[in-house]
Symmetry: C2
Subunit: 251 residues, 2 copies
């Protein structure tokens, strides 16, 4: 069944007007007509079964019928990634949504070529991927900030998995085995890697855990997907355990 | 330094003529001139430092100088993947090369829409990714075959990690923990999943290990990259151990 993210509160028999773009998607692309059923979520009220009550080019009206699933969240995992070229950045955001991160932070580094990203477009990609992957929230995409700002803004209690290409880091599975099960961020550098000064500064952080992703050089998008997958399988909700709604409960 | 895959044997002072396409890449794209140094490999003779001895539009001549690294192989890992749309299939092959598989087998399933793939183009993508990732061999891309043919052709001693979307499979990290460290294949279904009959047939295979990649629905390309990454981190050469040249030595 089609899943749609909406901004509005979901309550029984509310009448939710959606914009021209999702209306076009529902009626033209997916060819739904009046009375059709779909699933909606807003990141707060769980997943609801809804009916397409009125169809119009400018805006359809949806009526939530009943809640199908209570709200749940993904593990408290962030992806911190250096800006890369547009196509690969879009792949990374799509995959991060599927792999269950809560936030994607874009960072500017010494060897980052780009200095700007279309956050609205990346958010639309994250939303569509969240609809398709079945999650009940949409990851936030945070506009590019300098690396030093992002690192100094990491809140107490969050750990940083630093995917370190410089050799001598611990193999990732070994490093994560038995590790802290609270909030984490995964840090991936730009295509040319971090500069020696950046690398030294990251390794100096008490909350940083340098890990190795094997003997081959990985592109940034491959490294991001690989790192998030290994984290989810080792510490995240791929373990088959119930993951609570907040990080405090997890730990 | 630029890395180039060549077919020819690599021996001291051999004169290797390369075709118009790699010649264009070296001289026009990378702007190398006569006397420039590069690295070459052929999947058999290790990595050699070579000199661009003669430059021509129709074919440059390379002269190997000395071996830089002895031949090494990636772990004996295959990716068996249902045909998906071209762009995602190309992503999968690129990533599989970076993640260190030896072979990519394309399969036709009940719910596969496509029936044909451009194996030459996929091989070129695998070659370029192998050059960039630093490996000393190039994964083979095997033309599409029916699922039953591929499954019945799996040689004795190889295990099959079946990424099972049907629920109730063991979480992947738990399933692979302490598992057999010899040859494996990773099996990923088409976008619509395997049919119930296909799924039952796969689960009936004595050498198949059904695993779960978490609670969200993953696209085929995401699932492939995730599964290969978790395998490499748990049983492959991301563990930081020396991996021998043949499966027999690994086990």
């Amino acid at each position: 069944m089609i899943r749609l993210f909406v901004d509005s509160d979901l309550t029984e028999a509310a009448r939710i007007t959606i914009g021209a773009e999702p209306s076009h998607y529902l009626t033209r692309v997916m060819r739904l007509g009046p009375g059709a059923a779909l699933l909606v979520f807003n990141g707060r009220d769980g997943e609801w079964r809804a009916t397409l009550a009125e169809v119009s080019k400018r805006g359809c009206i949806l009526v939530p019928e009943f809640q199908v699933r209570p709200q749940a969240t993904t593990p408290d995992l962030e992806l911190v990634i250096a800006l890369v070229k547009r196509a690969r950045l879009e792949t990374i955001v799509e995959k991060a949504a599927e792999l269950g991160v809560r936030r994607v932070r874009l960072v500017l580094t010494e060897r980052t070529n780009a200095d700007h990203a279309n956050v609205a477009r990346l958010t639309a990609i994250a939303t569509e991927a969240s609809e398709q992957t079945g999650r009940l929230d949409v990851p936030t995409v945070v506009a590019p900030q300098p690396l030093s700002v992002v690192l100094s803004g990491i809140e107490p209690g969050r750990r940083l998995m630093f995917c370190d290409e410089g050799g001598e880091a611990t193999p990732v599975a070994e490093a994560l085995s038995g590790a802290f099960a609270g909030p984490w961020a995964v840090l991936i550098g730009p295509e040319g890697g971090f500069s020696p000064a950046e690398r030294a500064a990251i390794r100096d952080l008490a909350f940083a855990l340098p890990v190795s992703l094997g003997p081959r050089i990985l592109r940034a998008d491959t490294a991001a997907i690989a790192a998030l997958s290994v984290w989810q399988s080792t510490l995240g909700d791929w373990r088959g355990l119930e993951v609570g709604p907040s990080a405090a409960q997890v730990n």
